[in-house]
Symmetry: C3
Subunit: 258 residues, 3 copies
């Protein structure tokens, strides 16, 4: 346990709870806080001023940048529709993944192997994120969203709550998704609240907007700046405001043909 | 004063100025800096690596996340049009409000009760923000903007300087507002510089753009992805680029009928 | 060297590498980390919880806000197209420039004099940024981009990799640029990958989207919310989705006539 393992930590570890454990050959920056029950695997690199909150589990060889907060418990505002009854289980980050400087990842979320949560990104509670994923700089992933493997979500994109993003999807910078056509009014909104479903290999262009509940078909392509108001068929390129079909997506661009 | 009250603080407070005061039953994280003249009310929870700058006033039961900066003095760039002559009064945050991890809130701003400034958000100087407001993750609120009560500003929205946002307004993720039709050219621009006015209960959809000086009428609804180039009448739904009126907003969706 | 100069530092400097140097009359906040080979010029002000990584060079009178990370080495994800073979040279920030709270600036980048990188902004490796520039709050500047003098990039704008932004350009809040028409598919994409070129004095309105490889002509004006799919001639105002020419830009609005 920690008493022994802490000898492996390099640098000025400030505050490691006695119930936390740190694997062999980890490197720590200055002013790191590791709270109760956290488990840090062997060979992790932890930056300066990092806060690892209760019960967070890091696999082997995880790299955490400066000023990161891991395992934050959600604390909804007094007027939020999200209700939290008890503490969520700790955040889990699997082997070989990295968390960029200034990023915040909540408790109750699981992140796969070899995945990168980039600098200043933000991932809420109860998400499941796959392997070999990039969650880009400053991206938001809201609560209870499922993201497959080999997904790339680029800078500043906004992935709303209750979404499904399948394998090999590409979301360009500044894509905005939504899940509530009523924008916070009427009791019906809870019945219809649903984020987009983005099927295997689909690509969504920069600064596009996806309306609630729509489905972007397998290998579809949404052009930059489009506003997507209805489902997009598989392997179809759409563009415009509102987006309309223009042509098929050539097979040589499909994910399975790369 | 602080000498006595500091005994109530839990944890490893690093640096509290002797002229600062801390109320009873506060909890502090590691590496907290509290500068001269700051006043922290009873029952506050302060995260790790928090910087509370000169003269900041926190009410009772305020919750501050990790890596937050409160009460920063503005320091405009050499080429900015904002000129600052002397230090502004401290930031004020009222009872029961919270500031999310990584957020930055400037001096000279007042935040009401039970309001949430979410993670990584940014609020400039000389703003007045009401009660029961949500300023979402990564939102920007520029200087000298007035925000009413029960307003929800969602992730990544940009609220420009000199705006008025009335009670019960809803701004969806990625809404962008503007205040200068000349984008930094000609002396006339200072005469016409004006942000949008968003009236009681109005809703603006995801990734919409509002041109300078326009008024969004009471209970109006701007569809996602619209570019609003002229005033929107009350209780009217507009959409498109440029946005045009489509139909009335049903009364059951008005804020007063929730 | 540092042994002597450190006496000039005010406050609780936590960790300065013995091979780093600090000029006269600098002020340091709490919990500052300065790593090997860093050089901090005379009269710099360094905030709390700042991390200055290996080999970073700050000129005279540079102001660094709280929670800043300077000189981070890039560490691409396993699936990124960016490959890094060895450590880049240190970040260089010239006299009189400032870095806002929570900002992150990578190694291998050079920033000119009297330039402001604002709060929570993000600048990647191998960029060259000129004098008297503003990189606004939360802006992203990706790798290997060239930015001239007197450029203003406003809140939340996204400047992609391999772009050229000439002197006196104005990018409004939320402008999104792109550099890959194939969004990560086919080998051809590497041949055509190219960001926009934005010529002297051009202005791009809020929430506009610029497609890959286009050129925005000298003193051109892109209206807010436009999607620019082809080159914009000099001194021409364009608007719409897709953007089309509307009228000339009056000479009194040109940068050279201010």
């Amino acid at each position: 346990m920690s008493g022994e393992n802490l000898k492996h930590a390099q640098g000025g570890v400030d505050s490691i709870d006695p119930t936390a454990s740190v694997g062999q050959a980890c490197e720590f920056g200055q002013n790191v806080v590791v709270q109760a029950g956290a488990k840090i695997g062997a060979g992790c690199t932890i930056g300066h001023n990092v806060v690892i909150r209760n019960g967070t589990i890091l696999g082997e060889g995880v790299v955490v940048g400066d000023n990161v907060v891991l395992g934050k418990q959600p604390r909804p505002s007094p007027t939020s529709t999200v209700k939290i009854r008890e503490a969520l289980p700790g955040l889990e980050v699997s082997d070989g993944s990295s968390i960029g400087a200034g990023a915040i990842v909540y408790a109750g979320t699981k992140i796969g192997r070899q995945t990168m949560i980039a600098d200043q990104a933000f991932v809420r509670e109860k998400c499941v994120i796959g392997d070999y994923v990039i969650v880009g700089r400053g991206v938001t992933v809201e609560n209870e969203t499922i993201i497959g493997d080999y997904v790339k979500i680029q800078t500043g994109a906004y992935v709303t709550a209750y979404m499904t993003v399948e394998d090999h999807v590409f979301l360009a910078p500044g894509v905005y998704t939504t899940n509530d056509n009523f924008m916070g009014r009427t009791p019906e909104r809870f019945k219809f609240r649903k984020g987009a479903t983005i099927r295997h290999g689909a690509r969504v262009g920069a600064n596009a907007t996806l309306l609630p509940g729509i489905e972007i078909g397998r290998e579809a392509f949404v052009a930059a700046g489009s506003v997507v108001t209805r489902d997009v068929p598989p392997a179809t390129l759409v563009m415009g405001v509102p987006a309309h079909p223009v042509r098929p997506v050539p097979e040589r661009e499909w994910a399975e043909n790369q």
